[in-house]
Point group: C2
Chain length 384, copies 2
């Protein structure tokens, strides 16, 4: 049987686009069809370096080309515009995480994909790593009992000239949450919302700290239905353990450092008494890719790329590993975290801006509103 | 030089009292002078089993005896009464953690100790373990740079007949927070409040779940001054990794499982690039004790016992490893956590009971109060 080759377009030429192109180049049934940049020279250089068949001088030209699917790897403040551009030309899209700057954008993108019957997926590549799939298998095989909690973290020391980096600009939707905090949140959703079938969290609490108007470090607690709790941490201030632990009633699973793209998983099962464990550790070496990659373990992007190919060939419009509703829910959680930590972007609404960092303001405002309404109603009645 | 022997009294005969008596028996310069129980037969049996010189038929009789210091190891709802009893007879006290059911009790005990010039310490024995002292040494020697975050957790699967256990009775101040959640909170305070010199946290957020009216699982985020964040988890629903990680700007320190009484510490220092580490792991085997112990690593109680002996011989009224102000602050944090998770005890105040689980109620109530006060003042002024 001849497998239909998927023609990929790469929208953007930054570091993650480079790594993704390398991955497409190494994936069976995937073809590097086109690349586009705002600067045509950059697209031409990229095409030469990564053996991409066509270089386009605009994003629009790429969206109008014969690609089957576009990988949108631009800065996240541009995602909505670029995803919508691709949709307007009838193209399927994989969009880098975070899909959106806030939930309103995510909802618009998801609605557009569904309205047009196009494929859309947020690029949570972690979930396609074999170590993570092994964790899912073990959970589904009931090896650790029912999942009761998730602990996950991601952090590194941000060492650059902060004032000059997009990561530290509110107007660029900077901050550690959207860049790295999205990984622990995705891990919590993956195991507690999807795999456990519990759906989105019922409450979100967070506390953290800001620099130059963006979040640099925080802790997040998500409470899912049935009292399942995810305790998550992220930081630009130091190297966290970068580990995800899925706790079950009869054991736990550890996705080892680097937990945002792990190659090693331990399944720890209780063997009788407390503190008596049986540990089975499995390693999943990464495939070899040509050239130098920018990000750690980017070889693992081939798993995501292959999975998307299979979905497209099967005519699917959405991945059940990274469902679209979940992407919206994750964006909602990130809105709430930012709000509680006190970070607002120009793209956020007015009430968000007023009450960011003061999560009690909204209910207090509601209380005062109800009181005034009641008093006004009373006065009207009295006058009659 | 002859070291003055410290005469210990044990108030209570439960599991932790047994383990503490074994530790006193194995500590140089410590003497098992007396034990008291409500049931005299129990005190006599205990005295025989642990070679305690005197058995007393009441707690009062022990407090009136010639002991230098009393270890109060009764159930935590009784701590305040028993500590106060010892103080009334002029005795120094080490009180099991949690020192108190709530901050009001802790404040009263600390005030009484200071007023009477007596020694008081909450038994946070973790801090006296050599592995933890090594972590403190490494921090103070600046081996991991400035501390920026702490991650800590403790959880086990509570397997008993819940409905019949004190741990699941609000009137017995049950719940996982006071029994095991106090350990991650203590770890956060130890490294971020004391060792870093930052003082108590500025905000506390928590979310968790309850069963039978007590908390069974939660995540807690403490924000300390200078934006340092501690992300903590505890649970009765499954075995958590039971690990404490102290993250610095140039490395991290891991206190390995069982993190609430660790014997192994890893000092991980950055060696150039991200994800390039140098790890030094040190183990501190426990001393051998006679007989069977009830709790994991209870041999480590000898370190706490020896430290208290040194403090008493030096005429100190307080430990600078577990300062009294910190015990009060920890009790305040635990009050806040319970409040947010929705657990109230009969010993808590009315406002706590009204607003537990609704942390926005207090500011809303304040907002309405201020509004009404303003309206009333306006009306009075207008009438004039």
């Amino acid at each position: 049987m001849v497998v239909k080759s998927i023609r990929w377009g790469i929208l953007g030429t930054g570091k993650i686009c480079q790594d993704f192109a390398s991955a497409v180049g190494a994936t069976d049934g995937a073809e590097l069809y086109g690349v586009a940049a705002r600067d045509f020279t950059k697209a031409q250089d990229f095409a030469k370096n990564f053996n991409v068949t066509h270089a386009y001088e605009s994003y629009e030209a790429l969206a109008e080309s014969d690609v089957d699917v576009v990988y949108v790897g631009t800065w996240h403040t541009l995602h909505e515009a670029h995803v919508m551009l691709c949709f307007s030309k009838g193209k399927n899209v994989v969009v880098e995480k975070p899909m959106a700057v806030n939930a309103a954008q995510a909802r618009r993108m998801v609605a557009a994909a569904r309205r047009r019957g196009l494929f859309l997926m947020e690029a949570h590549w972690t979930r396609f790593m074999p170590a993570v799939k092994e964790a899912v298998r073990a959970v589904e095989a009931n090896e650790i009992g029912e999942i009761v909690a998730v602990l996950s973290d991601f952090g590194y020391l941000f060492g650059g000239e902060k004032a000059h980096m997009n990561q530290f600009r509110p107007e660029m939707a900077g901050g550690a949450l959207l860049e790295i905090g999205c990984y622990p949140i995705s891990a919590a959703f993956h195991f507690l919302s999807s795999v456990s079938g519990l759906g989105p969290p019922v409450t979100v609490v967070a506390s953290g700290t800001t620099e130059l108007g963006v979040d640099v470090s925080a802790g997040v607690v998500l409470k899912f239905p049935r009292g399942r709790v995810a305790t998550l941490g992220y930081s630009y201030l130091g190297e966290l353990p970068e580990q995800t632990t899925i706790i079950g009633s009869r054991g736990r699973i550890v996705l080892h450092n680097p937990g945002h793209c792990p190659t090693k998983v331990s399944i720890v099962t209780l063997a009788g008494q407390r503190n008596e464990y049986q540990t089975e550790t499995k390693e999943y070496p990464l495939p070899k890719l040509e050239g130098t990659l920018n990000c750690p373990n980017s070889e693992g992007l081939v798993y995501e790329c292959a999975a998307v190919g299979n979905l497209l060939r099967a005519g699917k419009k959405e991945s059940d590993v990274v469902p679209l509703d979940e992407s919206v829910h994750m964006a909602e959680v990130m809105d709430s975290v930012r709000h509680q930590v006190g970070v607002v972007y120009p793209a956020d609404g007015l009430l968000s801006r007023m009450s960011a960092g003061r999560p009690w303001l909204q209910p207090t405002a509601l209380g005062i509103f109800l009181l005034l309404t009641g008093a006004a109603a009373g006065a009207v009645l009295k006058r009659r």
